[in-house]
């Protein structure tokens, strides 16, 4: 946070035309403080992609399609980048002969996905290869998005350079909103979730269910909070990033849930994995649907890491999505014939989606798949002693953080439903620039003070964001 504050002051004083260079320098300073070696890897793979794409492009591509030769080079580049990602993901779980285990470079999954989408977009002729190396390198290493996304496409980032308008009044409250989600909700609920998952085999039905129900709420507050901070920081730097969440718990089908949860990852996989696979196998009928969905959801799972838990998480979602894909026409006809049931269907659907997502998240969160399976089976134990069991759990984790977290989560849902920030922005859109910034800074100061007061009243160990690990 201190790094970001100092960087922003310097950035603001800098003339717009130098901001792309400053952005690149800031990103690499940030990255080097984590690991110099990983920064060298990042620079290397950025240069390889930049010059590889320049080489693959040819003058004809400006008028028509790239030559066959160039198209192959783009594909080879994409395969090399996927290999780079696989190598580090595997090296993090199994020792490399002669080297041992290698720590996962910070933001690996995010920046390699940016690079692969860039190369494939060039291959498909959607964009021209970038000619400005500083702009390109700043896109790959853009520090607000390095830790937890969102995964922005080159076609959305590059035209914003050099950043001219720094949206301070919009960015600051967004960062504070993210901090609120993390500190007041995710970390508070996390205490109960961590306790339940760490002591799973010694707990009873209702206690397990409480931990399972709270984890999706914690994960949403944690990950969407991290995204809010990244988007807010981007706005302060004059770069508008893509949204990553859209009230996922209002989804009435799992298909819709994935259109609202980690949207930049699912959008990416949809464009570069699902659609090409479905197109390649499109005449195979139902088999093509099942195959493409399964590969896609397994990719979603394994993107988080090569573990059995993430694999099962992907497979469970594949079962949900295949079922929905094969039954959607029947469901659509039913609700067309019974329009009065449509509203109830959506409400019931949202509850079902929450429970179905919760089951999959148990595999995502548990240390071992066997623990997750054990917990899901034993969730029905002790139906006669629900209140006693919950009393024991609350005494073990203490009631206060749980209540703060749940009230905070309700605030998130209400805030994201009614979006007071939008009408506030409309209100002060007519004010002069300096007044808007003053307003943003005052709001920020007050909210930061509130968040820190909350933090001071709940001291605890440093709790990193869950999605920093990917």
């Amino acid at each position: 946070m201190l790094f970001a504050a100092l960087a922003l002051v310097f950035y603001r004083l800098c003339p717009a035309r130098y901001r792309a260079v400053v952005l690149l320098l800031l990103s690499y300073i940030f990255y080097c403080t984590w690991s110099l070696e990983a920064a060298v890897w990042l620079a290397g793979v950025t240069l390889l992609t930049f010059f590889g794409a320049r080489l693959a492009a040819n003058p004809e591509s400006l008028e028509g399609e790239p030559s066959k030769h160039g198209k192959w080079l783009f594909l080879i580049l994409a395969v090399l980048l996927a290999g780079y990602l696989f190598f580090f993901k595997l090296a993090a779980i199994a020792a490399v002969p002669g080297v041992g285990r290698i720590a996962l470079p910070l933001g690996l999954s995010y920046y390699t996905f940016k690079l692969i989408s860039y190369v494939l977009d060039c291959h498909w002729g959607k964009i021209e290869p970038e000619t400005r190396i500083v702009s390109f390198a700043s896109y790959v290493a853009f520090f607000p998005q390095l830790m937890g996304g969102p995964i922005q496409r080159a076609e959305s980032y590059l035209p914003q350079l050099p950043p001219v308008r720094l949206a301070v009044a919009e960015g600051l409250p967004r960062i504070v909103w993210g901090l609120f989600k993390k500190i007041a909700v995710a970390d508070q609920l996390g205490l109960t979730v961590n306790y339940v998952y760490a002591n799973m085999r010694s707990l009873h039905g209702a206690q397990l269910l409480a931990g399972f129900l709270l984890f999706p709420l914690q994960l949403y507050a944690d990950f969407s909070g991290l995204t809010d901070i990244a988007i807010g920081l981007g706005l302060l730097l004059g770069i508008r990033g893509p949204e990553n969440f859209n009230r996922p718990f209002t989804a009435s089908t799992i298909t819709e849930f994935w259109r609202r949860w980690h949207m930049t990852l699912t959008g990416w996989l949809g464009d570069y994995v699902f659609t090409p696979l479905r197109m390649a196998t499109r005449n195979a009928g139902t088999a093509s649907v099942v195959f493409s969905i399964t590969v896609n959801t397994v990719a979603i799972g394994l993107w988080h890491g090569f573990t059995w838990g993430y694999l099962v998480f992907g497979l469970v979602h594949s079962a949900y999505l295949v079922t929905e894909a094969l039954t959607w026409k029947v469901r659509a006809r039913f609700f067309r014939k019974n329009p009065n049931l449509d509203g109830w269907g959506s409400r019931l659907g949202a509850v079902m989606v929450f429970f179905l997502a919760m089951i999959a998240f148990v595999f995502f969160r548990a240390v071992h798949v066997s623990d997750a399976a054990w917990g899901l089976v034993h969730v029905w134990d002790g139906l006669g002693s629900v209140s006693t069991d919950l009393g024991v759990l609350i005494r073990a984790v203490s009631l206060r953080p749980l209540v703060i977290g749940l009230i905070g989560f309700a605030c998130i849902e209400i805030g994201e439903r009614f979006r007071p920030d939008i009408w506030m922005r409309k209100l002060y859109a007519t004010w002069p620039g300096w007044a808007q910034e003053m307003f943003g800074a005052t709001t920020m100061t007050l909210l930061v003070a509130a968040v820190y007061l909350l933090l001071l009243s709940n001291p605890g160990p440093d709790r990193p964001f869950i999605y920093e690990a990917f």
Partner: protein, 86 residues
């Protein structure tokens, strides 16, 4: 003449859209996007393309279908691909 042919393509595409997306009243306009139609998602999008390929006896490449912004772009693509047939 060209406008007539575009109209012809739109009529035929409307039928395909109504059948594949199961929307008997769907009206195909240039600025229609997937977000505006229930059931038009990445999955049914490929079903649509397969049906269009069969009806017009044409073939789409992946690069062509990943950059379609709205129904108008799809109509133009089908018109361009069937140009030789007229």
């Amino acid at each position: 003449m060209k406008a007539d042919r575009r109209e012809e393509v739109i009529l035929k595409l409307t039928e395909i859209f109504r059948d594949v997306l199961d929307h008997p009243d769907l009206v195909l306009t240039d600025d229609l996007t997937a977000d505006q139609v229930d059931g038009w998602d990445s999955l049914s999008h490929i079903n649509l393309l397969v049906a269009i390929e069969r009806a017009f006896k044409i073939k789409f490449a992946t690069r062509e279908v990943t950059s379609l912004k709205n129904a108008g772009a799809l109509i133009d693509l089908v018109v361009a691909k069937t140009e030789g047939a007229h």
